[in-house]
C-alpha cells in the first residue's frame, strides 16, 4: 500500500521533471525507464540532486545478442527509503560507449569496471577502467552471449551428454587440452609474463609529496596478500607506505573468480538455488532468500505464511552467526590471539546445528525454494531455536559486549580509524553495517520491506562516527535486534504448508526482469534476474555487498597506519566467495 503510494509519486515526479529525457520501458515484464546514452548524465544529475535518488545500488548490464545491443541497467534508491527507480541505457555491441557515472556516484567505480570486464561495456570518463575480476591477458568478455568457455558443450543445462540416459561423457575428455581455449592474439602462455608492476606504477603516478615534509623519505610498495593471514582469503591490497603510513591503496581481487554469473546463466532456475549458497558462504540462507525473492517476483508467486516465518527465522539466525563471527575475527585482526574468534565460533556452531537439522547441511543450506522452503521445521527444532534465542544467545552477546566494548586497547585501536562520513558512505554505495555506522539509518528490511518484515517491531541499528568501533557497535546492536525479530517470529509462527503449489524440478518463469534485494549480514544483497521464458535465466547478476563495500576501502585507509588497514578491512567484513564470484 505504502509502497504503491511512494512509487506513484516517484512516477509522477519523474514524468514531470524528466519527461524529455526518459521514456518508459514498455517491454512486457520490464519496468523502469530507458534513457539515451547522451542524456544519461543529465538525467542522473537531476535524479540525484532534485529527486533525491542519492543511492546507486547496482550497475550491471545485459547482452541482448539478437537485438545487437548492450543494455546497462542502473538501480537507484533514496537513502531515506522507499522503492527504487530502474534506468536503462543501450549501446551497440561493437564499440558501444556509455558515459560513466563514477564522477557522480563514486560507488559505481568497481561495478562499472566489472561491467566492462565481463560484458565489454566501455564507460567513458571512468577514471580507471581496467579489468577487475578477470586477469589482464584474458581475451573477450565472458558474460557476452556469444562468448564460449573452453570445453563448451551447450548453451544451457542439463547438458545432453549427461542426460537423460546417463552417458557420463564429459566434453573435456573428448577435447584434448588447448583445442578450444581462447587466448588473445599474439599470446603465448609459455612465454607470457604477468605485469606485476601495473598496479604499482599506477600507485607511483598518484604519489604526491607531502607538503610539510622536512626529511625526504622513500616510499615502499607492499603487497598485502593474496597470501596473507589478515585478508580473509585470497585478496590483495597493494599499499604504498611512507614509513608505516598508507599514502595509497589499491585493492586487487578476482583470485577466486569463477564467473558465477555465467555458470548461473547456463543453469536452470532451480539449479541456481544451491549455487547462491557459495556466494557468501557464511550466510547461505540470506543468499537463498534474495534469489528466491527475485525469481518469485518474476513468477508472481507468494509463499505461504509459515514459509515466510521460517524464512525470516533462518535469515535472522544467519545474520547473528555472521555478525558474531565478524566481531570475533575483527579482534583477531586487532591482534588478539584467537580467543574472541573462538568464543564467537562456539555460538556459530550452535546456529549451524540448527541449519543442519532443518536443511541437512551446515553451510551450504540450499533450503529455500520458489514459493516457500523445501521442508518444514520439526517442532523439536523450533524448541531448540526458542531455547537458543531466549536463553543462550542473549547471554553470549552480553558477554561479548562486556568483554570488548570497553576494552581500552579495542577503543584506542578502533575509535577514529577508517572513518567514512555519511555523505561518503552514500556516495560510495556502501551498504549494511558500514552505511549504518556512518549515521545513515538505511536497512532494506525497513526502507523497502520485503517478505513479512513490516510485521515485526525492531530498531534499525545506527551509529554516527563511521569508524571501526561504530561498525562493531552496529553489529552488536543488530544481533540484539535480530533476537527481537526472532522472538516475535517464533511467537507468531502459524501452521500450514511451507511451499506454494507442489514441489517442481523445473519452474516456469515468464519473460521479464526482476530485482530482488534483501538485507544480508554484509549489506544489501541484490539479485537481478532476466528471464526470456526459457528454463534458464537469460541474465543473472548478483549485487554483492562486500564487493561494493570495497570501493570505499582506499578512502577509509588513507593516511592511516598499515596496522589500521588490516582492521578496516576486517570491519568491512568481506567474504571472498562473494567479492570475486
Amino acid at each position: 500500500m505504502n509502497d504503491r503510494l511512494l512509487s506513484s509519486t516517484v512516477d509522477e515526479a519523474v514524468s514531470s521533471r524528466l519527461s524529455g529525457l526518459l521514456t518508459e520501458d514498455t517491454r512486457p515484464g520490464y519496468s523502469g525507464y530507458l534513457v539515451a546514452p547522451e542524456n544519461l548524465l543529465e538525467a542522473v544529475q537531476i535524479l540525484r540532486d532534485e529527486l533525491g535518488f542519492d543511492y546507486l545500488s547496482s550497475v550491471t548490464g545485459v547482452d541482448y545478442l539478437e537485438e545487437d545491443r548492450l543494455e546497462t541497467v542502473y538501480h537507484f534508491y533514496r537513502s531515506t527509503g522507499g522503492s527504487g527507480l530502474v534506468l536503462k541505457s543501450s549501446c551497440s555491441r561493437e564499440n558501444g560507449r556509455i558515459p560513466s557515472l563514477t564522477p557522480i556516484y563514486p560507488g559505481a567505480e568497481f561495478q562499472e569496471r566489472e561491467a566492462w570486464d565481463l560484458l565489454g561495456i566501455r564507460f567513458e570518463g571512468h577514471p580507471d577502467l581496467r579489468r577487475i575480476l578477470m586477469w589482464e591477458g584474458f581475451d573477450g568478455h565472458p558474460l557476452r552471449k556469444d562468448w564460449r568457455e573452453p570445453y563448451f558443450e551447450e548453451e544451457a543445462k542439463p547438458f545432453k551428454s549427461r542426460w537423460p540416459d546417463g552417458k557420463a561423457v564429459r566434453s573435456e575428455e573428448k577435447t584434448p587440452f588447448g583445442d578450444n581455449v581462447c587466448f588473445p592474439p599474439d599470446f603465448d602462455p609459455q612465454t607470457w609474463q604477468a605485469e606485476p608492476e601495473t598496479v604499482i606504477e599506477r600507485l607511483q603516478q598518484d604519489e604526491k609529496p607531502l607538503a610539510d615534509e622536512e626529511i625526504q623519505t622513500d616510499r615502499i610498495v607492499v603487497n598485502l596478500g593474496p597470501q596473507h593471514p589478515s585478508t580473509h582469503g585470497v585478496f590483495r591490497m597493494t599499499v604504498m607506505l611512507d614509513g608505516e603510513t598508507i599514502v595509497s591503496l589499491k585493492p586487487v581481487m578476482g583470485y577466486l573468480h569463477r564467473n558465477h554469473e555465467k555458470i548461473a546463466e547456463r543453469n536452470t532456475f532451480l539449479q541456481n538455488m544451491p549455487f547462491t549458497d557459495r556466494l557468501d558462504y557464511l550466510a547461505s540462507m540470506s543468499n537463498n532468500f534474495g534469489y528466491a525473492i527475485a525469481v518469485e517476483k518474476l513468477m508472481g508467486v507468494t509463499p505461504p505464511e509459515r514459509a515466510e516465518y521460517i524464512r525470516v527465522i533462518m535469515a535472522e539466525l544467519t545474520r547473528i552467526s555472521s555478525h558474531i563471527m565478524t566481531t570475533g575475527f575483527l579482534l583477531n585482526d586487532l591482534g588478539a590471539f584467537f580467543t574472541p574468534a573462538l568464543y564467537a565460533l562456539e555460538e556459530r556452531e550452535l546456529i549451524l546445528d540448527i541449519f543442519e537439522m532443518v536443511s541437512g547441511s551446515r553451510m551450504m543450506c540450499n533450503y529455500f525454494r520458489f514459493g516457500g522452503v523445501v521442508r518444514d521445521i520439526p517442532e523439536d527444532v523450533l524448541g531448540r531455536i526458542r531455547q537458543l534465542v531466549t536463553d543462550r544467545l542473549p547471554r553470549k552477546i552480553d558477554e561479548l559486549d562486556s568483554y570488548l566494548t570497553n576494552n581500552e586497547i579495542v577503543k584506542t585501536r578502533c575509535q577514529g580509524v577508517g572513518v567514512l562520513t555519511d555523505v561518503q558512505a552514500i556516495a560510495y554505495s556502501a551498504a549494511g553495517p558500514i552505511l549504518r555506522a556512518s549515521g545513515v539509518p538505511y536497512d532494506v528490511r525497513r526502507a523497502d520491506p520485503y517478505s513479512i518484515y513490516d510485521r515485526f517491531d525492531f530498531d534499525v541499528a545506527v551509529q554516527t562516527h563511521g569508524d571501526v568501533y561504530d561498525r562493531y557497535l552496529v553489529r552488536l546492536q543488530e544481533m540484539r535486534e535480530s533476537l527481537k525479530i526472532l522472538r516475535q517470529a517464533l511467537r507468531d509462527i502459524p501452521g500450514g504448508p511451507v511451499l506454494a503449489g507442489k514441489p517442481q524440478y523445473q519452474v516456469r518463469v515468464p519473460a521479464g526482469e526482476a530485482y530482488g534485494r534483501v538485507e544480508g549480514p554484509k549489506g544489501e544483497l541484490g539479485f537481478y534476474v532476466v528471464s526470456n521464458g526459457k528454463p534458464n535465466p537469460y541474465r543473472y547478476h548478483v549485487r554483492a555487498p562486500s564487493f561494493i563495500n570495497l570501493t570505499s576501502l582506499e578512502t577509509m585507509c588513507m593516511h592511516q597506519k598499515v596496522a589500521d588497514a588490516v582492521v578496516v578491512l576486517g570491519s568491512v567484513d568481506i567474504i571472498l566467495g562473494e567479492v570475486d564470484r
Binding site: 589478515s230 588478539a336 580467543t339 584506542t412
Partner: protein
C-alpha cells in the same frame, strides 16, 4: 673449580633449552584452555612429547634461503639472537650455598658485582640479530618487522634500565645475589610497586609478547623479521624468544619477587631453586594469559606510550626512591 663451572654452565644451558621446549607446550595447553579448546594432547601423556615431535619436525624441514638474501648475515642472525638469550641467566642466583657431603656448592654460576649491567648489556645484543634478520631477508615484511623491533627495543630498554635502579638503590649493590639477600624480609614488589609495573610492561615489549608483539605482528607483517626463515634457523629464533621469556621471568622474580627466597629456605637451601621455579611458572602464566586476552597496541601508540608515559614515570620513580632513601637512611 673449573669443573664446577663447566657442570653448572651445562646445566643452565640444558635447563634453558629444555625449558624453552616445555614453555611452548605450557603456552599451548594454557592458551587452549582459555580458548575453550583442549590443546595438544596426543604425543605422550598430556602431550608431554609434543615439543620433541616439534623439534624433530623442525630439524628435518628444508632450509630455504631467499634468492637475493645476504647469505652470511642471514645465517648469522639467528645465532646472534639465540646466544645472548642463553647466557643471560649466568648471573642469576638459583639459591644460596648448598652443602653436599662436606663440599660447599654455590647455587649460582657466578656472582658478578655488576650483575645488572651484565644483564642490560647482554639483552641488548639480541636486537642486532633481529634487525640483521629483517635486513638480510630481502623481504619488505621482514624489513618492517626488523625496524619495528629496533625502535621498540631501544625505547623500552630505557624504561627497563631505569626500573632496575630502584632495587639497586635499596639493596645498595648491583650484584643480583645481594639484591636477593636484601629481600629476605620483604620483597621489593612492595617497596617498588611502580618500578615493578614499569619492569613488567617494558619486559613485555622487550621480549615482543602480546600486546606488544609488533615486530612479528601476524595480521600486518605475516611474521615480521623471521618471515623468510624455515627449519632450524626459524627454530633458533623461536628458541631465543622463549628463552628470553624465561630469562625475563627469572630476572623479574629475582629483582622484585625475592628470587629464591621463601619460607624455610634458610634451613633447606635446596628449596631455593624450587621457589624460583614456581615464581617463574606464575610469571610465564601471566604472560600467556595476557596473550590470550589482549589485542595488539598499534605501533605508533606503543612508541608514544614508551617515551611519553613509561620513561618519565620511570625517571620519577628513580628520583622518589633516591630521595626517600636519603631521608630515611640518612
Amino acid at each position: 673449580m673449573l669443573v664446577e663451572w663447566i657442570i653448572k654452565s651445562v646445566v643452565i644451558v640444558l635447563f634453558m633449552t629444555a625449558g624453552f621446549a616445555y614453555v611452548t607446550l605450557y603456552e599451548r595447553r594454557l592458551l587452549a584452555r582459555m580458548q575453550t579448546r583442549i590443546g595438544p594432547n596426543r604425543a605422550g601423556p598430556f602431550g608431554l612429547l609434543q615439543p620433541v615431535a616439534d623439534g624433530i619436525k623442525l630439524i628435518f624441514k628444508e632450509e630455504l634461503v631467499p634468492h637475493n638474501a645476504d647469505k652470511l648475515i642471514f645465517t648469522l642472525a639467528p645465532v646472534i639472537t639465540v646466544i645472548p638469550a642463553l647466557i643471560i641467566t649466568a648471573v642469576i642466583p638459583w639459591g644460596d650455598t648448598l652443602t653436599i657431603g662436606g663440599t660447599k656448592i654455590t647455587l649460582y654460576l657466578t656472582d658478578v658485582n655488576i650483575g645488572i649491567l651484565y644483564l642490560m648489556a647482554v639483552t641488548s645484543i639480541s636486537v642486532y640479530g633481529i634487525t640483521l634478520a629483517g635486513w638480510s631477508s630481502n623481504n619488505k615484511y621482514a624489513l618492517l618487522g626488523g625496524l619495528r623491533a629496533t625502535a621498540q627495543m631501544i625505547s623500552y630498554e630505557l624504561a627497563l634500565g631505569l626500573s632496575f635502579v630502584g632495587p639497586i638503590l635499596i639493596a645498595g649493590s648491583m650484584s643480583l645475589l645481594d639484591i636477593v639477600k636484601a629481600q629476605s624480609s620483604i620483597p621489593f614488589i612492595l617497596l617498588q610497586p611502580a618500578g615493578f609495573i614499569i619492569f613488567f610492561l617494558a619486559s613485555l615489549a622487550e621480549v615482543n609478547r602480546a600486546p606488544f608483539d609488533m615486530p612479528e605482528a601476524e595480521q600486518e607483517l605475516t611474521a615480521g623479521y623471521h618471515v623468510e626463515y624455515s627449519g632450524m634457523k626459524f627454530a633458533l629464533f623461536f628458541m631465543a624468544e622463549y628463552i628470553k621469556l624465561i630469562a625475563v621471568a627469572m630476572i623479574g622474580s629475582t629483582l622484585f619477587l625475592g628470587g629464591y627466597q621463601g619460607p624455610f629456605v634458610d634451613q633447606f637451601p635446596i628449596l631455593g631453586p624450587v621457589y624460583l621455579f614456581a615464581k617463574v611458572i606464575i610469571w610465564l602464566g601471566v604472560f600467556i594469559w595476557l596473550r590470550a586476552t589482549l589485542p595488539r597496541i598499534r605501533y605508533d601508540r606503543l612508541m608514544a606510550f614508551g617515551w611519553k608515559i613509561m620513561f618519565p614515570i620511570a625517571l620519577l620513580n628513580v628520583l622518589v626512591t633516591a630521595v626517600v632513601l636519603v631521608l630515611v637512611g640518612g
